[in-house]
Symmetry: C2
Subunit: 436 residues, 2 copies
């Protein structure tokens, strides 16, 4: 970068004028180039730019920086972002980096890190405005005027009692419309919707979006006001949580990002590939039970991938629709059974249609009517089971408190492979007299 | 429900006190029971409850209602929700139901329906506050006081010129802190961030969450202010879009809900199952090319599902991580190639590890060293290709303007099945002398 120093004023101008666009440019660079840029520009701009870079990339950049620069930048970050970035570090580095922070910052970041992953407490911001109820409206306005200079994002005003318990809420507009000598407690809305600091972020998002609030206060079990969650913070969160489900269904870690280090990808994916391998051998073992008949009627081997692949995909359709319903909270517990029945019925009809089509193709291709019948029957049974399993697996996992996404597709394909081979090769044994 | 009329006052009380909870209870009922309840309670409560029911279920309920009741309820719905519910109707019913609305409501709903699906124009609300720049602060406050009685959700105040073009923005707080005789145009912020009415909602969500705004104005190409999108509206939208991707990957329609009618599920899933069937037969055809060697070495058939299943799952891990990166906009176009290389490398290493493990298991199970070698080599080649294809497929689909989710897993498993069988059985032919 040394030779580019003449461009420095230009770069600075850009970071100053449009930090969001500048952050996008940074994200498009390799991490070592991006670190070079951040080393060159003034510290205030670095912090500004990092605010708009996604947390995973910011974590990579911070890890690559000289320790001295890391310390200076990390101490300028907003507490919540610092905590989020720290969560992206490997466990051991997290502790080491935390020690580098200033005492106050360290404590604040630690406070956020103690809440469970994805809980309200972990994602809340502590940037909120809370006044006592005996404050006059004009005093409140004066305080807000002071805060306004600090560009606070606060939109609601929370009213707390002497112990810090949340007792009321006011909008800026309420202050606007009231005489200055009125006490806050006499105009505040007492019916405040708040969430517990341990509530899951998906649940918080759901409440916020159903109730049409753009921010919600977070309280502990004693109703003490701890922080605030704003709707726009949740957008990226819930989107992320939903796409993480796709990863988990196939046994990739929900934490993996497109540009995570290769070692992270390998460490998190390989264990699930081993699990999948074991289940694949289970399916192989089922096939091995039928080696005799395959030896005599080799063409059966040709249809193995058709029955298995089709069952896997039909089941995955059911799985995906049910997963969607779970994530969007569209499935009340009382209707779970109905949904399993519905998916089984869809599997039954899909099985009839695809079974007939498969039988017809097999007949036309191989010219053996009973081969067509065996493939068709195997397909029919497998697709019915696929619909049933595709709904049963995630609903059961959820009912027993497991994450319904976690490796659900691995479990599903095990079921469809095993049941597909069993039924297809089973029918082949049944009709073996007609097949040879 | 007739015999329950004594409970009516209780039910009414519940709907009045907590419409959100009441809506949840409705969603848990069968649709015909829910319709009975809605027929019984007063109209104002029906509209109130429907506001909190998810749009898909609301659409089902409205379709099941007597036409007269439908008309009365539909006309009390907020315009945006009415438009969203109408989008859930089948195309033909949409037109029929639209005709039932009052002229003004019909026009407003139609206006929202002309915007492309999932565009800013389609999801914006027209409930916003806009004043001309030459208004005095005290006049603005007076107007807001009037609007406050109508419980408007507006949080920002937009400033427009005579032609309705957006020229500035003010927060309630800005009015609070300024002398009443000041003109709005002298205190407004002129640097307004706005989005075009044709911008995709995922893009809007991304901008809003990056910039930390809780609402954004929507303008047309002449910069005329059309509406506003609030962050909390987007929460459910982006979450939905992300989970719809899971469905599309397996060839289920993004529109399908857990409780969509069975006919809808069948109509949208069966075509993709047929596509999948054709690709499965392509894989079967590859196997059929090797029928001779399978006839002589039957045990090869036993390992077919292991090679195919493992390749499919490893490829799906790559696909899921890349899909996540695309949805979260974490992959700048310039880094696409790097990502494909990275996933191929991960596939290479996974292939080495899983190849060795598979070879060892095959050897222990069947006692044939060269069978182990052939399975291991086939696995290694297939997992390397799986990593490559898992990244290449969605990135290519995106680059050519297709939806990267649409049936991407069906394409991927075709690649991993075909390449898996080709390499595994190809190696078997190569080493056939040692296998028998």
């Amino acid at each position: 970068m040394g030779k580019n120093n003449a461009f420095l004023p230009l770069i600075e101008k850009y970071f100053e004028r449009d930090p969001v666009a500048a952050a996008h440019v940074l994200e498009a660079m390799s991490s070592s180039d991006a670190v070079e840029v951040l080393k060159t520009i003034p510290l205030s701009m670095t912090a500004q730019a990092l605010r708009h870079v996604n947390d995973a990339f910011a974590a990579v950049l911070l890890q690559k920086m000289p320790r001295a620069l890391f310390v200076r930048i990390a101490n300028t970050l907003e507490v919540r972002q610092a905590a989020n970035i720290f969560l992206q570090f490997p466990e051991d580095l997290r502790r080491e980096f935390l020690e580098l922070l200033e005492e106050k910052k360290k404590r604040q970041v630690q406070d956020l890190l103690i809440y469970p992953r994805d809980s309200a407490g972990q994602i809340m911001t502590v940037d909120f405005v809370a006044f006592h109820g005996d404050l006059k409206v004009k005093e409140a306005i004066q305080k807000i005027r002071y805060l306004a200079q600090h560009d606070s994002k606060a939109s609601y005003i929370y009213v707390i009692d002497k112990e810090g318990r949340l007792i009321g809420i006011l909008r800026m507009r309420d202050l606007l419309l009231t005489d200055g000598n009125t006490l806050l407690e006499s105009i505040m809305h007492r019916d405040v919707f708040s969430v517990d600091c341990f509530m899951d972020r998906e649940h918080v998002a759901n409440e916020l979006s159903k109730r049409n609030y753009f921010a919600v206060p977070v309280v502990d079990h004693e109703h003490i006001l701890l922080g605030v969650i704003r709707a726009e913070q949740l957008i990226a969160d819930v989107q992320e949580e939903a796409v993480e489900d796709i990863q988990k269904m196939f046994g990739a870690s929900g934490d993996e990002r497109a540009f995570s280090p290769v070692t992270f990808s390998l460490r998190t994916r390989l264990p699930w590939l081993h699990v999948n391998l074991m289940t694949a051998f289970l399916a192989a073992w089922v096939v091995s039970l039928f080696e005799d008949i395959i030896a005599r009627i080799t063409v059966l081997a040709v249809f193995l991938p058709v029955v298995a692949g089709q069952g896997g995909n039909a089941g995955a359709q059911s799985l995906a629709v049910v997963m969607r319903g779970i994530v969007m909270r569209e499935i009340p517990p009382s209707r779970g059974k109905q949904l399993i029945l519905k998916e089984t019925f869809i599997g039954f009809i899909n099985g009839l249609v695809i079974g007939v089509v498969t039988a017809a193709i097999a007949l036309l291709w191989q010219g053996k009517p009973f081969l067509g019948l065996v493939v068709g029957l195997g397909m029919f049974v497998n697709l019915t089971i696929a619909g049933f399993a595709g709904a049963l697996i995630p609903l059961t996992m959820k009912a027993v408190g497991l994450d319904p996404a976690q490796c659900s597709n691995i479990i599903l394909t095990t079921v469809t492979d095993v049941m597909g081979f069993l039924s297809f090769l089973g029918f082949a044994v049944l009709f073996r007299g007609y097949l040879m």
